[in-house]
Amino acid sequence: MSEARESEPRSLSYLAAISEGVREVLLEQDNAFLAGEDVGQAGSVFGIYAGLFDEFGADRVIDTPISEKGIIGLGVGASATGCRPIVDIMFMDFMGECMDEITNQMAKMRFMFGGSVALPVTVTTMSGGGRNLAAQHSQSLEAWLAHLPGIKVVMPTNAYDVKGLIIAASRDNNPVFVVMNKMIVAMQAEVPEGAYEVEIGKASVVRQGTDFTIVTLGRMVYEALDAADQFKEQGLDIEVIDARSIQPFDTETVINSIKKTHRAMVVHEAVQFGGFGGEIVAQIQDLAFDYLDAPVARIGAPFSPVPFSPSLEDAYIPNAARIVEKVKEMLA
């Protein structure tokens, strides 16, 4: 953070912070470039990369064909040979097209080569539902990535973090996935000018509390905060943790919180069954067993694809109401 230029407090949207983060990287590192579908003139979905093409030109902000395997391959091959690419997979749902390149090449190359190569590549992508984009444009598939040794995975939830994590990711000599969320692009936060890093692998305690811990991934942090506020009057003081990074995962921050609160819930937007929440719960019960007054609860999406219709999608995506209900259940 020390690098951030001293300046007036300045509010920026998540969207603008994404492009500012990439901009800092391109300014800082000659061998960095941004490549992906429609990242150029169009600035990608929601205009998250707006302005970069005009500033840096077609040599450094590169439109690719609709070829996700090719895009990840570009990131692997270029990062192995002296570049520091940022490659964009528009929606996380499209990762299925390039899971081989992610899993068997990007994540394993350094290990398979006995450490003789480093892959300083950043992969940016958008996840989550809420925009009625249906089953193939709304998924949260971070659990696939968390299970892959060799990559890091962060899920920034605000403008400050997204800029700082993009910069940290692109300075890291490992492949880092920056999983962004499509519902919060307009949200504002204070964002310093200039380059700064948010440390990869550190959770953020976004609300201090003494009675209950909610560990969240991605956008769910806001639902948890909302739920926590609803318990304020009843005198239940809920701590909310934004995990921020799932690989590495900040076990320590989570465990410390639970040692204080004795009750915990994990909330993510991904399908609950087989989701990353299981890993978190397993760690908590392992490392804080004697501190727990109740089982660790999980809230995730039900076991179905993401439905299109607003009436169904509203019922599908976890929200403050479901969290409140579950907390009440646990306290009953």
Binding site: N132, A135, S309
Partner: protein
């Protein structure tokens, strides 16, 4: 040995083109009025392709579609009411509101779904074509896909398998010159996607996708070949979308010039065909007008139907994830 369309064919194709055009214009308006949730990719400008190809298909022939799929479903026999209901996210929609525009489908007419995944269709069409051959039917499967989609690995694998097994399959590339906002020249070094056909061992044919007669004839030949066990064809239709990538006006980007749009609009497939029909004395202007009147009335009814239909009850959420017996 091109098959000439009968008068009946011509009228049917015209009806389909008008149905698509008016469906899409209506859907666009509804989206702009906030009545259609999510993303809407409209087919306006490309009607000749769906109408020309589908004229050769029965309900037992299958198609796979794209994110820009309403036109395909309309031409394949989709009905307005359940289509609009689906786009509106209502329980009376073809997918009970679970799919929406990007997944609208109707298995009864052999429409294996719009598809939100670019390049998602071709491997599925190959599976259907394989099934047609395996089950010793005479049916064909048609994969529609865009110029942008032709760069996905899925297209490559599907095309190779179809040619290898000589499947009753047709690959229809709707080359509208753009993948989203990226012009073709920025996503592939070739001008003609049809050039890829020979690499799989199948014929590649280029046709004017604004000319329904041309599409009809080229598709007819290819489909005949397919039905006769002579294998797949890659049929590239040169076309243009009159609206933006998403919705009507999209994000307001300036990736296409007004001149370019005007040039293509001057070749509007619907009005060109109508002029033709009048010249050929297949239809009079009055007859054409009454087609519109009929279609418009049906659309009004369908929109009403959709608007009055209920949203699906949350209790049905977990239905349809698995088959649990019954159907």
């Amino acid at each position: 040995m091109a098959k000439r369309p009968t008068k009946k064919n011509l009228k049917a194709m015209h009806l389909n083109m008008v149905r698509i055009r008016r469906f899409e214009e209506t859907a666009g308006r509804m989206a702009e009025n906030g009545k259609i949730p999510g993303a809407l990719h409209l087919y306006v400008g490309e009607e000749a392709i769906a109408a020309g190809v589908m004229q050769h298909l029965s309900d037992e022939d299958q198609i796979t579609s794209t994110h820009r799929g309403h036109g395909h479903l309309v031409a394949k026999g989709g009905e307005f009411k359940p289509m609009f209901a689906e786009l509106f996210g209502r329980s009376t929609g073809y997918c009970g509101g679970k799919g929406g525009s990007m997944h609208v489908s109707n298995m009864k007419v052999g429409m294996l779904g719009a598809n939100g995944i670019v390049g998602g269709g071709p491997p599925i069409a190959v599976g259907a074509a394989f099934s047609n051959k395996y089950r010793k039917t005479k049916n064909v499967a048609v994969a529609f896909f865009g110029d942008g989609a032709s760069n996905e690995g899925s297209f490559h694998e599907a095309a190779n398998m179809a040619a290898l097994y000589k499947l009753p399959c047709l690959f229809v590339c709707e080359n509208n010159g753009y993948g989203e906002y990226t012009p073709q020249a920025n996503h592939q070094a070739v001008v003609d996607v049809a050039d890829r056909a020979s690499g799989y061992g199948m014929p590649g044919v280029i046709v004017d996708g604004m000319d329904v007669m041309a599409v009809y004839e080229a598709a007819g030949e290819a489909i005949d070949r397919a039905r006769n066990g002579e294998g797949p064809t890659l049929l590239e239709c040169k076309t243009y979308r009159f609206y933006d990538h998403v919705g009507v006006r999209g994000m307001g980007l300036t990736y296409r010039t007004d001149e370019e749009l005007a040039l293509w609009q001057a070749r509007d497939p619907v009005s060109a065909f109508e002029k033709n029909l009048i010249d050929l004395k297949v239809m009079t202007q009055d007859e054409i007008d009454s087609v519109y009147a009929e279609v418009n009335a049906a659309l009004d009814e369908a929109v009403d139907f959709a608007e009055q239909s209920p949203y699906p009850d949350p209790s049905v959420l977990l239905d349809d994830v698995y088959w649990v017996g019954g159907d």
